[in-house]
Amino acid sequence: MAQRLKLEVNGTTREVETDPGRPLLDVLREDLQLTGTKFGCGEGQCRACTVLLDGAPTPSCLTPVSAAAGKRITTIEGLAGAGGTLHPVQQAFLDEGAMQCGYCTSGMILTATALLERTPEPTEAQIVDGMNNNLCRCCGYPRILAAVRRAASLRT
């Protein structure tokens, strides 16, 4: 049965009427038109669908929308600052050309954002470990790692 849920998405409260068991991914993409979050596998394996829930990287394909209610939801669309200033991680991915098809990019950027919030000066091993759940089938990993390193240096 549909329920009314209040979602705090990118700093704005949005109300949706939906089956509470629906994946957060679908609600973002279909009800809120936030298509920057991507479907990749539906089983939390590729992390293309990563969003931040209270700052923690979370696969939105496996998260029922009801579980996101009451939490701060950040999607790729909410990362840039006022006036469109890119977040340092977005800027680093841009500067390093860390994308081929770019379909995994939003998940990569949000995962890296959470990693650097948690660990502002990560070691190489921490970067590898933090990014290892995200798949890129174009296999542009060298540049993705370079972008995370660059983002870390931009922030410090």
């Binding site: 939906t18 068991g21 629906r22 994946p23 679908d26 993409r29 279909e30 009800d31 038109q33 936030l34 298509t35 920057g36 979050t37 991507k38 479907f39 990749g40 596998c41 539906g42 089983e43 394996q45 590729c46 293309a48 999607t75 790729i76 669309e77 990362l79 840039a80 469109g84 890119l86 977005q90 800027q91 991915f93 841009l94 050309g97 994308m99 081929q100 098809c101 770019g102 379909y103 995994c104 990019t105 939003s106 950027i109 590898v128 470990d129 990014m131 290892n132 759940n133 995200n134 798949l135 890129c136 089938r137 174009c138 296999c139 542009g140 990993y141 060298p142 540049r143 993705i144 790692l145």
Partner: protein, 667 residues
Amino acid sequence: MNMKGELNQEPERYELREPPRFSFALNRRLFLGSAAGAGLLIGARPAVAQNSPKAGTLSERLEIGADGRITAGTSKVETGQGSRAELTQAVAEELAVAPDQIRLIMADTARTPDDGGTAGSRTTPSTVPAMRQAAAAAREVLIGLAAKRWGVDKTRLTVRDGAVRDEQAGRSLSYADLASASEAALREAAPDGAEVVPTAEWRVLGSSLPRPNAHDIVTGRHRYPSDIRRPGMLYGHVLRPPAYGARLESIDLARAEAMRGVKAVRDGAFVGCAAPTLFEAKAAVAALAKTAQWTETAQPSSGELFDYLEKHGVERSAGRRDYRSQAQGLTEDAFAGAKQIVEARFEVPYVQHAPMEPRAACAEWEGDKLTVWTGTQQPSRVQGELAEAFRIPESSVRVIVPDMGGGFGGKHTGECAVEAARLAKAAGRPVQLRWTREEEFTWAYFRPAALIRARGGLDANGKIVAWEYENLLAGTSGLETPYDIANKRQTYRSSNSPLRVGSYRALGSTANNFGRECLMDELAQEQAKIRSRFVSPTSATSACGPCSRPPPSASAGRNPSARQSRAAASASRAARRKALMSLLARRLASRAASIALNASCRPSSAAVINPDNLRAQNEGCIVQTLGAVLHEQIRFRDGRLLNGRFSQLPGPAIQGRSAARGRPAGP
């Protein structure tokens, strides 16, 4: 150029055998009248019928806006391999403007000239030159117009920053002014023979222009095919058979139709639902599935695959499309006279492309005219598939391909577009259909499996004098050995593939290069033995060929990877393969990224259009290949995939989590 025009790129023959997959009953009367009503979409330019860009007029390829910005068109798509940047550079270079002055429209059958599909690595060698030629011709026309206006000779005029300049007289005319005053000139056939900017004078080509829409990607603004949203749009989901070859006997649509907002469709073997949300569409399909009666037939399994391929190989018969054999010299005689013969058999598994974005399409009907946004490498072919499926003229079908989430040769077909259009037709509303990962693994086509048998013969001096190579199902790319061997026979034979097969990055050469080079390695071992007979015991370094004893410094074990490499080269075939895989797996596990950087190809001596893009492609290809080599073997039984999910078959990750889960496979 279309497939026919690209003479130097023969499509893999197995692709030509792909049968049509849809046979809709529909209401024939509905479509009989549509041919007469065929027309162009409002606001769109006509598609160019000719395949050669040269044959068209300049305005079909290029437009100069009142603001001076240049719009260029191509049927090529961007799957992530840098075509958008390279083609933008091509136009900017020849028209001497900054790349940000170019707006490149890719793959819209109603607006862009037909350069063929995006396949066979042809965009850089074929379409970049075509773009340059068109832009150079436009430049010459603009110079001619300015010369006429000023009454001066063309040769004293130059172009820079979007204007034709007469430096002697200190005057200039912008492209926009020239084009708006002389539109007719741009509508004439493009002049032949305009000279392109010589490599030594490149300003934009040869530089590492970043992807032009990169900003939209890092902000999530770019709309991929699965992101297209239209007013009133529904979401679709399709009922798939439980197994390959399963036939639908009966199904009851009533339960799904009774669900709120759901439209259920059965048309022949096609069954699907459209609903206001994907969640509801899936629930409706799940309800339908419970009522479906299927008949399954026995299907081969991956365990018996290579026997099956052998048993069903087509006859060796000249003239068949699914057979090709080339012979040179006297192969049988050469083998008979050979001092030593090395034989090999290689089994190559099926591999799935698994692009990050599964197949997706958004279809919208307006009367009997159809527009589909979809992720395909072959917009024109998909336009044809749609026209055929719905029995409407191609001119009533518009296919638009937004930059998509990967292809790797796996998106040459339009099944998702046809399915979305069928659902949209039934629902009377636009429908977005995006395949699930399981659908993409199971129902998209695979890189062909292959059985390769090969042998090589050496004479007493270790020279290769005879070569015989045959692959079943791999295809013809890379079939011919590049080595100088006087007597050889090289054959491709098709077989009855249990799984649907099609193009894959580098086509059949992935299997053929593997088979050929492995056999060469084994021949080299025998050659080394022959050579070692002539080595003087005092000359320690002279025999350090590929398979000889390692030099003392390395055998001391300070360089584990060098030691492992040598071990790989000197063991027996099975052990060697195992050692090689273990070496690769270990390296992948330790740091896939560094492999790519270290192994990256040397720069080509040819002019490089976009060096950074070339580097990125090299890096990505190398790491991606490791996935296919190490652990992406598709396994199947009773018509079902046993590992058609990322949790079972995830491909390379940064730290090789996949290697731990997957099972090592062949190439």
